[in-house]
Amino acid sequence: MSLYAFLGTLEIGFIYGLVAMGVFITFRVLDFPDLTVDGSFTLGAATTATLIVLDINPFLSTLCGTLAASSAGLVTAWLNLRFNILHLLASILTMTALYTINLRVMGKPNMSLIMEPTMLTPFEGLGIPAMYLKVVFVAVFAIVAGLLVAWFLYTQYGLAMRAVGSNKRMAQANGIVVDEKVYVGLALSNGLVGLAGALFAQTNGFADSTMGIGTIVVGLAAVIIGESLFGTRSILIVVMGCIIGSILYRIAVSMALNADFLGFQASDLNLLTAVLVTLSLIFPKLRSEWKAKKAKRKEI
């Protein structure tokens, strides 16, 4: 892999590290499988790109993109909590609606940012080579966001949110308002994903209506890789594991795609992703089965 390709892989890895943290909050902390992210990733990108093209400050545009994605999370939470629609289904409904909304936001299926100012523009004069600048920029975002998420989950409020995901009845008996935690959690999760979309649009120079497809699977893959490599001993480890897992996932995919003897094409990405995630889901189960079998044989 060339240095240039490697830096590109790192850059995408850090950006999807934010997605992984969002997925971690819904899937693991709140136990609320939320597929909204496929739409909110694009919504974050589309909103930010559209505002930048309208000559709005890129930082303000990114904030708006993030908030727009957060509100998509709130819609999913509302459908689930207020009307008892199954969480998975509620999130699929929001995701489907977002596809149209994203097209409407941009007014066309694809929007270029090549000649537009981005959040990176102010840093371009600092003397860091352009190829490194992007990586450093997204790395700072991912790591700062990771520290903030970890800190949040260690606070009284964050602990209450974790209790809601673990045992609703216990949470309620301890005075925790369950619904509020779900709303905040989904807004936070989708906000992180929307921020990732906004960063993606600015570093890659475009927003596209189909860019969000498979976001959830990639995010989940990163979470699972991080968990299986670094364990779940503490929240900080798991959250940082999301970022590292995301980078490792990208490296694995790009190596698989680049290995000529495997004969993969770029269009095989989604199948590869699905196979990778499936393997990482199967592996822990198989491992415990093997261990149990081994222990049994020893006893006899």
Binding site: T155, Y157, Q172
Partner: protein, 267 residues
């Protein structure tokens, strides 16, 4: 003090499956009283507790804590006054969180969650102190996941958690029913200690006639959503398990057979 006035609870109101779970409960439990509640399955014991806790909405009637009408207060708001321990040891604690995190949650009961660290060294010391009272060695396992403790250990920790924040009312819903006799006795011991120490107003639902008479200062028997017997003072002191069983039979003068083998077993 807990006061229930003409408390009615109906499930599935207006449907074919309508069930009158509570039909006019009028009780006053003065502060510091320890009331045991007995009754056959479906008598409304758990419904009464859950209604007082706010999990179930009242259909008619009022609930007061001291002089405050809490009938329309949601369950989470009532946790300022109420601590609870459930029958299922898994229900009262978070299995995915560590022992200290569970205790930190209980420590924050009835307060708004703030954006400050949930745990600190001061709290850990307090939790350790409290846990060492159990003599179960849990004080050295603050970091262990709650799910790895046994049912009895979890139930004991739940009790400590219930007492971490000052509250006036403790609701126990058959909290020893899922435990083996030895552990149940241990948990009951801790229960008595904590109640004594914190001067709590307690309602304890139990299936064991022995427990109902041995603990507390007053025994209520529910049947079909009504209080059928209310034993206190000297009269209660004279009661034996078999007298209670007779009361049970009496309360069912509608020809129902006494089929509660479980009640007999638990004596």
């Amino acid at each position: 003090m807990i006061r229930c006035e003409n408390l009615h609870v109906t499930f599935n109101h207006g449907l074919a499956t309508e069930k009158l779970a509570l039909r006019g409960i009028d009780i006053t439990i003065p502060s510091g009283d320890f009331v045991t509640v007995i009754g056959s399955n479906g008598a409304g014991k758990s419904t009464l507790l859950n209604t007082i806790a706010g999990d179930i909405e009242t259909t008619r009637g009022h609930i007061f804590f001291e002089d405050r009408d809490v009938t329309n207060l949601p369950a989470t708001a009532r946790t300022k006054d109420i601590a609870r321990v459930f029958q299922d040891p898994l229900a009262g604690t978070c299995g995915d969180l560590s022992v200290e995190e569970n205790m930190a949650l209980a420590y924050g009961r009835g307060k708004r969650g703030r954006l400050t660290f949930a745990l600190n060294s001061k709290l850990r010391k307090l939790f350790k102190e409290q846990l060492s009272r159990l003599n179960l060695g849990i004080e050295d396992r603050l970091n262990v996941q709650m799910g790895l403790l046994s049912g009895g250990q979890r139930q004991s920790v739940s009790l400590l958690m219930a007492a971490l924040q000052p509250s006036s009312i403790l609701l126990l819903d058959e909290h020893t029913a899922a435990l083996d006799p030895k552990t149940a006795a241990l948990v009951m011991d801790i229960t008595s200690q904590i109640i004594e120490e914190k001067k709590l107003t307690v309602m304890m639902v139990t299936h064991s006639m022995r427990q109902a008479l041995d603990y507390g200062t007053r025994t209520l028997m529910l049947h079909e959503g009504k209080v059928v017997f209310d034993l206190t003072g000297e009269e209660r002191a004279k009661y034996e398990v078999k007298d209670l069983l007779n009361l049970f039979a009496l309360s069912r003068n509608d020809g129902e057979e006494l089929d509660d083998d479980k009640l007999l077993l638990d004596t």
